[in-house]
């Protein structure tokens, strides 16, 4: 049984980056047909946008279409209505994570984004080893260990060719300043959200 949230489309138009432009979509199929991941997506952008209009909030926010987009921009340059498709998908993904939808918070991309952000915000740098380790172990100890082992040859290859360093993680010099900057950014974002 699908539940319909009749305010969802309006909410998306008003709160999602590019959502207002989504109202222009004429369901032509260019985006889903242009997408290199089109066949792997459960709905694809076109159908997803129709589902937004229909108010299928849960299904939209649980959709893998939000996470399979690889930001190739094919859809953005080809959409005859100039809907910024890719931006809408990514913002819907953010909305899904904020809403705590398990399909979104547990998605590979969200896990990776959290790992990336931890390193970026705490160290001021993204250290590949820390990001991958956090990403792998977000799946739990045993699965994380398996994933790490599976990628060990790649990691060693990178070390050998000096594409990955060994030793202390990279860090920025003044972490206090970084903290202040991020606090300010959070404050601005909170203001915009109102």
């Amino acid at each position: 049984m699908s539940t319909y949230d009749l305010n969802f489309a309006r909410w998306v138009y008003e709160n999602v980056d590019g959502g207002d432009k989504m109202a222009l979509c004429m369901q032509c199929g260019t985006c889903s047909g242009s997408c290199p991941l089109g066949a792997q997506m459960d709905y694809g952008p076109r159908k997803l946008f129709m589902m937004v209009r229909a108010g299928l909030k849960d299904k939209v926010l649980e959709s893998n279409t939000l996470w399979n987009c690889v930001s190739c921009y094919n859809c953005v340059v080809r959409c005859p209505r100039q809907v910024p498709v890719k931006y809408v998908l990514h913002s819907l993904g953010t909305a899904a994570v904020r809403a705590g939808i398990p399909a979104a918070t547990k998605s590979d991309n969200a896990r990776f984004a959290r790992a990336f952000w931890w390193s970026a915000s705490k160290l001021g740098r993204t250290d590949e080893r820390i990001v991958t380790a956090l990403f792998y172990f977000s799946y739990g100890l045993s699965k994380g260990f398996k994933m790490a082992m599976a990628n060990l040859p790649v990691a060693l290859g990178l070390v050998k060719t000096k594409r990955m360093h060994i030793g202390a993680p990279y860090m920025c010099k003044n972490k206090g300043e970084l903290k202040t900057i991020l606090a300010k950014a959070a404050e601005i974002e909170a203001r915009h959200a109102k």
Binding site: M26, T30, S34, R46, R78
Partner: protein, 419 residues
């Protein structure tokens, strides 16, 4: 206010397509003198380059022939071909128009015997067939030409070939000394019936018109199907001249697209249905698929859609194709996209792909005097402005709507030009 004494009852019609011809004969038959100027060597415009007209699939000769007769019968219409407008001065009731005429190198005494063409040795791109084949440097523009007079390409002037062509004409109608000339006209009103050009398919890079030979446009399809076209009316795919077994017709190729023409060109859906009918008439086993966003059979033409929908070998796919790719095997092309009814992501091979490119106003080509204030954002001439427009110059219209708009334009011109 224009000086009373400089007012003129003469009406100038710019563009000799079906709209310009209609406006000219209507105004003349109502008692006004009319000057009709046409840029190319013949009247007829784009209609003369159609194989047949929807919805009844009659031949373009019907409409044109009757109107040519009306022009010939009228003593009030003067026709100047190879002529366009260089400048317009004045205002409603009293315009001074400078007309520029290109040399045809053939005088009105031409009897269209064709001796000049027989003497010609070089070839030039055939304008009538959108450059799909070539014609002799001395040629008749097409079989429905008006005036029925040959034209010689400027490239032979001063060459031995030119001399041979001149010598071949027994009545001395060839004159290679003709030069570009211009003259001024005093007229009371100007009707712009400058028509359209196909939206350039090369701009649609995702459809690869430039590098895939079997991706053609709808206007080329008209020529392929025409008895006086490059293949004598046989629909073949360009790469190997084989009859296509599978044909894809792609709607809205450039129309309804903010990156190209934002408006609906209005005729292309029906033109493609007509093309499906052409293919099905010629090839009993051919499969035709029409790819569309939504089919727009305007006006009273829905019955034409229903007729084609009854043909099991004409498929309708609700999808704007995302791209066209080369096919691995020989000719043809692969049409890729998402079927929006089934959500299937397809990649389907076709022998021939026809892009239904839309209509763009011909003023885009920039050979018209500045009239910016009367142009809309796309280059169409507002029917409500000071300038009087007829047919596709005023917006995307089919032939019957063009003729209605031309009759209305004639009436407006008569009102402006009546002292």
């Amino acid at each position: 206010m224009t000086d009373k004494t400089s007012r003129s009852r003469t009406i100038l019609v710019v563009g000799g397509g079906i709209s310009g011809i209609t406006a000219a004969v209507e105004a003349a038959e109502a008692g006004h003198d009319v000057v009709l100027i046409e840029k190319t060597p013949t009247l007829g415009g784009r209609v003369a380059r159609m194989n047949r007209y929807f919805p009844k699939l009659c031949h373009p000769t019907c409409g044109l022939e009757i109107n040519y007769q009306r022009i010939k019968k009228s003593s009030r219409i003067k026709v100047f071909t190879m002529s366009s407008v260089a400048a317009v001065k004045g205002g409603p009731g009293g315009y001074t128009v400078t007309v520029k005429t290109q040399p045809r190198y053939v005088k009105p005494s031409c009897t269209a015997c064709g001796d000049c063409a027989a003497a010609a040795t070089s070839e030039v791109a055939n304008h009538h067939n959108y450059g799909m084949d070539k014609v002799k440097s001395a040629h008749l523009p097409h079989t429905m030409a008006f005036p029925m007079r040959y034209v010689i390409d400027g490239s032979v002037v001063g060459t031995p070939e030119g001399a041979a062509i001149q010598a071949a004409c027994k009545i001395g109608a060839v004159d290679l000394d003709e030069k570009e000339s211009s003259f001024e006209l005093e007229v009371g009103a100007v009707v712009w019936a400058t028509g359209w050009r196909p939206y350039p398919a090369s701009n649609l890079t995702m459809y690869r018109y430039d590098d895939l030979p079997d991706v053609i446009t709808n206007v080329e399809m008209e020529r392929l199907a025409s008895p006086d076209g490059p293949t004598g009316g046989k629909i073949v795919r360009p790469s190997d001249h084989a009859a296509p077994k599978t044909v894809a017709l792609i709607q809205c190729a450039g129309s309804r697209d903010l990156n190209h023409l934002p408006y609906c060109s209005r005729v292309c859906c029906l033109a493609s249905l007509k093309h499906a009918a052409y293919v099905r008439e010629q090839m009993a086993d051919a499969q035709v698929d029409i790819y569309y966003i939504d089919l727009r059979a305007h006006d009273k033409l829905e019955s034409f859609v229903q007729r084609l929908k009854r043909d099991p070998q004409v498929g309708f796919v609700k999808s704007k194709p995302a791209r066209i790719e080369p096919s691995g095997a020989g000719g043809g092309a692969v049409v890729c996209g998402e079927n929006t009814l089934t959500r299937e992501v397809y990649a389907k091979n076709y022998d021939l792909v026809v892009l239904a490119t839309g209509m763009q106003p011909s003023v885009i080509e920039g050979d018209m005097p500045a009239m910016d204030k009367d142009l809309d954002a796309y280059g169409f001439i507002f029917p409500e402005g000071e300038a009087i427009s007829a047919g596709v110059a005023s917006g995307p219209l089919d032939v019957s709507m063009s003729v209605q708009s031309a009759t209305a334009a004639a009436l407006k011109a008569i009102r402006v030009a009546s002292v």
